[in-house]
Symmetry: C2
Subunit: 342 residues, 2 copies
DNA sequence: CTGTTAGCGCCTTCAT
DNA sequence: ATGAAGGCGCTAACAG
C-alpha cells in the first residue's frame, strides 16, 4: 500500500479521507456545503499528502484559467515597476495568476504571443504600444476580455481603458512656467509620436500657451520619444540652431534627464537660464541635479485599477469604459522654485 | 453543418482537414514527420478556424506546463527591470511562459503561492529573499526544479545559483578609495543583513582595509539595508556622533542616494570632503549629483543566465551549481576622480 | 506516415 | 450532504 505518492492527486486524497473525489473537490472549491467532520478529514488528508491541485486539470475541467495576461511593450521603463506591483497586488488579492509577456517581434498575422491566446488566459491587460489597433480588434473579436492601459480603445470597441489625466496637468505645469517664472519661449519635447500620453501632454502645452497669449512656435517642438538620448540629441540640435528659449517642458522625466545633460554640457544653467520640467515623477526625479519639477502620476494605482476592471469584466461582463486617474504637480527646483533652499 | 466554431478544438481542425486528431497534434508539435500535403491541409484548417491549442489540455496531457515561475521579493527595486527583461527574453526564446508572483504574506506552512506549486510550473526562479531556507528545502523536496538568484543554496542542496562577483569588486572599489584618493576612514553602509550580496561586499571591504594596513573600525560600519531612507538615517546619526570619516562605501546605489542627501544636507562636500561610492550602477547612478562611482552589475545577464540554467535543469536534469557573473568598477565623480571634467 | 485508443486530473451535472 | 459517471481538449503509446 503506497502511503505517500510523490505527486498526489485528488484520488489519493479521497482515498485517504474515505470520501469520493467529488467531496474533495467540494472542499477545495468551498462552493457547496460539506459536513464538519468530512471537511476536517479531507483537509487533514490534503495536509498529510501535501496535495496541490493541478492547475491544468482544473482549468481544463472548469474552462477557466484563473490567470490574467499582461502584454507589455518591449521597452520596460522605470514606471514599469510601480505599474507591475499595482497589477500584481490586485491580481493576487483576487486569487488569480499573472502571466507576463513583452511584445516580442510578432508578425502581422501573429497578433498575440501564443500563450496569451484566448484559451490560456481569462483576460488581457494591454499596455500602450504593445499591440497595434488591428491586434486589439483581432483579440477583441476572439472574445477575450481585455483592458487597455494608457491607451484608449480604437474603433469604438467596447474595451475599457485606464489611464491618467495628462492634459490638465501639462497645462498646469506649463502655466507655472509662464506665470510664476515668466517664461515665454517654452520648448516642448514631445513623447513617442503615437503615444496618447504624449498627445494629451502636447494639447495641454498648447492650451497653456493659448490661454496666456503666447504664440505657438513649431520650431520649439522637438522629438523626445520618452527617451534620454533622443531628448539629448534634440536639445543639442536646438542649441546649435541658436533658437532662443527659456524653458523646456519634457515629455517625461527620462527625457528630462537628457535635456539636463545637454543643457549642462553646453554650460546653460538650470534653472537660472532655462527652466526644465518633466512628467511622471519617476524615481530619479527627486535625486537628479537639479531636482526636477514634474507631474506625479499614480502608476501603481493605474496598474491596480486596470487589473480590477479586467476582473470585473471577466466576472460581470461590465466595467467602466474609462478610468481616469488624477495627477499632481510636484514643485522642486528645476523650474526655478526653491532655489537656494536646502 | 457548423462551419466556424467560436472556440475550435483539435477535433474541428481534424474534421476540416480530413485527418485524425493525432495528425493535427503532430503538426502542432512538429515532433514526428508528416507528409507535405497533409501538413498543408492541416495548417490551412488551423488558419481558417483561427485555432489556438488550449494550454490547459496540453499541459494536462503532456504533464508539463511550459511555464516558469518567478518568485520575487516584495520590494521591487530598480534592478528588477533589467532582471526581468533578461529572464523574459530567455524564457520566451525557449518557448516558455513566465508566471510571476511577488512574495506575499505567506504563513510558515504555506511555503509557496499556490499557483507556483509543483503542478503549475515546470520550475522556479527564486530571487534572493523571497523564500526562506526552509521554504527552499520544502520546495526542493517537492521535486520542483529551481534556481536561486543572488542567493546560494542552503544546506548543501543541489540547487543551482546564479549571482555576481561581489567580493573582488567591493575590494577593488575600496582600494580605489584608499590608493587613489588617500582615504583612510572609510565608512561601510552594509546592505540587508541576511542578503548575501551584502555579506560579500562587506568581506571585500574588510579585505581592502587589511591589505592596505588600515584598521577595521566597527564604529564605521552602519546599516544601509539597500534602502535610501535607512542609509540617510545612518549617515545623519554618524554625523551627529562626530566620528571622523573621509569616505563612504554604500551597499548599493539606492542607499548611496540617501548618503548623498544626508551629506549634502549637512554641508559636507562630495567628493572634496568625503568620497562616496556605491554598488550596482543603477539607472540613477549616472545622473545623480555628483555622478556616482560604483560597480556595474550585469543584471540582465543574471536574469538570462538564471532562466537558461533552469531550462537546462528541466530538460537535462543537469545545470551548473554556480554561475558567477563578472562585475566592473565604473569611475565617475563621487569618489573624487574626474572632478572639474564636463 | 497515419489512425485508434487510453488516459492526464479535476469539475459538474445527476442521482441518491 | 455525498457519490457516480461523463467529459474538458490534448498527447502518447500502440497498431497498422
Amino acid at each position: 500500500m503506497n502511503k505517500k505518492p510523490l505527486n498526489p492527486t485528488i484520488d489519493d486524497v479521497a482515498a485517504l479521507a474515505n470520501v469520493s473525489i467529488s467531496t474533495v473537490s467540494r472542499v477545495i472549491n468551498r462552493n457547496v456545503p460539506v459536513s464538519e467532520d468530512v471537511l476536517a478529514r479531507v483537509e487533514a488528508a490534503m495536509q498529510e499528502l501535501k496535495y496541490i491541485p493541478r492547475a491544468a486539470a482544473r482549468n481544463l475541467a472548469s474552462r477557466k484559467t484563473n490567470t490574467l495576461g499582461l502584454l507589455a511593450s518591449e521597452v520596460l521603463g522605470d514606471f514599469f515597476i510601480p505599474l507591475l506591483s499595482g497589477i500584481e497586488a490586485a491580481v493576487r488579492e483576487a486569487g488569480y495568476d499573472l502571466l507576463i509577456s513583452t511584445a516580442a517581434r510578432r508578425g502581422p498575422h501573429d497578433h498575440l504571443p501564443g500563450s496569451l491566446g484566448s484559451h490560456n488566459t481569462d483576460g488581457l491587460l494591454i499596455f500602450a504600444g504593445s499591440l497595434t489597433s488591428a491586434g486589439i480588434e483581432h483579440t477583441h473579436a476572439l472574445g477575450l476580455p481585455m483592458v487597455l492601459i494608457h491607451q484608449s480603445t480604437p474603433a469604438h470597441l467596447p474595451v475599457p481603458c485606464v489611464t491618467i489625466e495628462n492634459k490638465a496637468a501639462a497645462c498646469q505645469i506649463v502655466e507655472h512656467l509662464i506665470r510664476v517664472h515668466g517664461r515665454r519661449r517654452i520648448v516642448l519635447l514631445r513623447g513617442l509620436p503615437k503615444h496618447e500620453d504624449a498627445y494629451w501632454r502636447e494639447v495641454g502645452y498648447r492650451e497653456a500657451l493659448a490661454e496666456n497669449g503666447l504664440p505657438f512656435d513649431p520650431a520649439l517642438v522637438l522629438p523626445g520619444d520618452f527617451n534620454r538620448e533622443v531628448a539629448r540629441g534634440s536639445v543639442v540640435r536646438l542649441l546649435e540652431s541658436g533658437a532662443a528659449f527659456d524653458a523646456i517642458f519634457s515629455g517625461d522625466d527620462e527625457a528630462a534627464v537628457g535635456v539636463l545633460q545637454a543643457l549642462q554640457a553646453a554650460g546653460r544653467r538650470v534653472p537660472e537660464e532655462v527652466s526644465v520640467v518633466g512628467f511622471d515623477d519617476q524615481n530619479l526625479a527627486a535625486v537628479i541635479n537639479p531636482p526636477l519639477t514634474t507631474v506625479h502620476t499614480p502608476t501603481a494605482e493605474v496598474g491596480r485599477a486596470a487589473a480590477q476592471q479586467l476582473l470585473r469584466l471577466i466576472r460581470t461582463e461590465k466595467a467602466d469604459p474609462l478610468t481616469l486617474l488624477p495627477t499632481e504637480m510636484i514643485i522642486r527646483r528645476s523650474c526655478g522654485c526653491n532655489n537656494g533652499t536646502r
